[in-house]
Amino acid sequence: MDLTPHLPALQVIVPMLSAPLIVLLKPRGLAWAGATAVALLSFAVALNMAIAISDGAHYRYDMGGWAAPYGIELSVGAFSSLILLIVTGAAATALLAGRASIDSQIEPDRQPMFYAAWLLALAGLAGIAVSADAFNIFVFMEISSLASYVLIAGGPNRRALPAVFKYLVMGTIGATFYLIGVGLVYMMTGTLNLADMEARVGAVDDINPILVAAGFITIGLALKAAVFPLHVWLPNAYTHSPHMVTVFLAACATKVAIYVLIRFDFFVFQSNFDWHGSHFSSFLMPLGLLGILVASAVAMFEGHIKRLLAMSSVAQIGYIILGASFVTQDGLTASAAHLFNHALAKGGLFLAIAALACHYDDLRLDRLAGAARSMPWTSAALAICGFSLVGVPGTAGFISKWLLIDAALDQGPFAWLLVLIILASSLMALAYVWRIVETLYKKPAVVQPSSAGEAPLELLLITWLIALANIGFGLFPQFPLNLASAAAELLMGHAL
């Protein structure tokens, strides 16, 4: 039987329905294997769709057989496909690489639940990406959030707990804000389907509730996405979660929120109100810029390597937001491309850190001095991904920075200021990445690793795979770039 038309649904339900079954797999190896197989399958589904979509396909799916505004519609276009690739890719990669790391951080009897939560997080994030229904997005947002809280709380350090609590509180506030916004839009339009909303919002006479709704949705999602002043939950949550969870979530969790934010704003509001573009810009651009600067500056002085990278994530989110806030084809392309490239770079970095953590318990930067001597391959991969983060040419990160600056140059008289800020933050990124590299390579060792040698082979291999992908997509970025520009086209097609 032909499953192709069911792919959007399968993308979500395969991991989701496997989650309960994973709990039953008591021998932990089996749970891992099952989860990995499912994650790989999801990735295959996502890849399959992405390839078809880059050839111009567009998937639509009516859940339950009920047509769009009445039932829930799934819709996978270029933008969602890009996100799906990131999400499933991150989940599969981290699982493939992470068995040893997870074994060392999660007790065996809790592991089946851990893997189940993992798959739920995957399903939730994928569900957000494929859904074309405002409320359905909320439901899946909550699935993914709850599962991520669980994953993060699995960290062996007790500090994970206050961190995850903060995340829980702020995440819930964010989701609830989103819900309020959706409610207001629903109140004024009577529909929940995004496409239907787009068609009906314009006809609404009383614009104030829509305006407030846009505000609530934007703030709520900005909270979830850790956009600059609302990012306070992120650093600790990423720092103290199990390493593999950091790999997974840092690569995709906030991105999905950004995806919804951009999608909602462009599909529903931009297409109806010509002032919305400027509101959107004037709200998000300063936040993006501030985030880029402040977070980079903070990262430069961070002592803990995971916290440092978490702060850098905040800055990178700033880039993505900045690109979107231009409301131009180029800006959105840059944004979408950066979504992908940052996931690649951050994923690789956190993988390398997980590898370091195999032999170093304390991940404070000064304790890691000289690690390159005992773990040269890991350190090299870390350096490569770090350079990608900075945007050194030849790496994936460069592509998106290029696009971003290119897009910024169109931004009227203050373009030079934007470029200046982007460049300044790139230099700050260089500074903190260089700090890591230099510590690993040039400083005399302070702490002897708990055991000599490299990280487990599979972890090392995957880390290198990602590192090479950073270079590969830096030199041959056609595939993600096609998707990104198709995504931007899709979004701009909805803007006035």
């Binding site: 409320f135 609590f165 509180v169």
Partner: protein, 119 residues
Amino acid sequence: MNLLELLGYFNYWVFAIVLMVGLYTVIAKINLVKKLIGLSIFQSAVFLMYITMDKVEGGTAPIILKGMEGNVFSNPLPQVLILTAIVVGVSTLALGLAIVVRIYESYGTIEEDEILDAD
């Protein structure tokens, strides 16, 4: 605008007030359990908003029993949404409480500032 019409907005005002009370509790209180309580108040306010919009004057609950086919019915859709949202709220709350319990076990306190001091 006469009084009755004004009172038609009363639900929304209460929504706004309760929402803010909840939010205030979440961000101003430093006791973790209190924060969670605030969170559930906060969410409840949203439920109120949704349910408020489902009401139709002279309508009745959307259960179309025999012989009621001609009646006016309230909007069933927000109710469905809120059913889901309530479940989500409880789930979040349970998870939050589990975390609070663990925090208390490892820190001996559930006051945020004391936890910060402890680390």
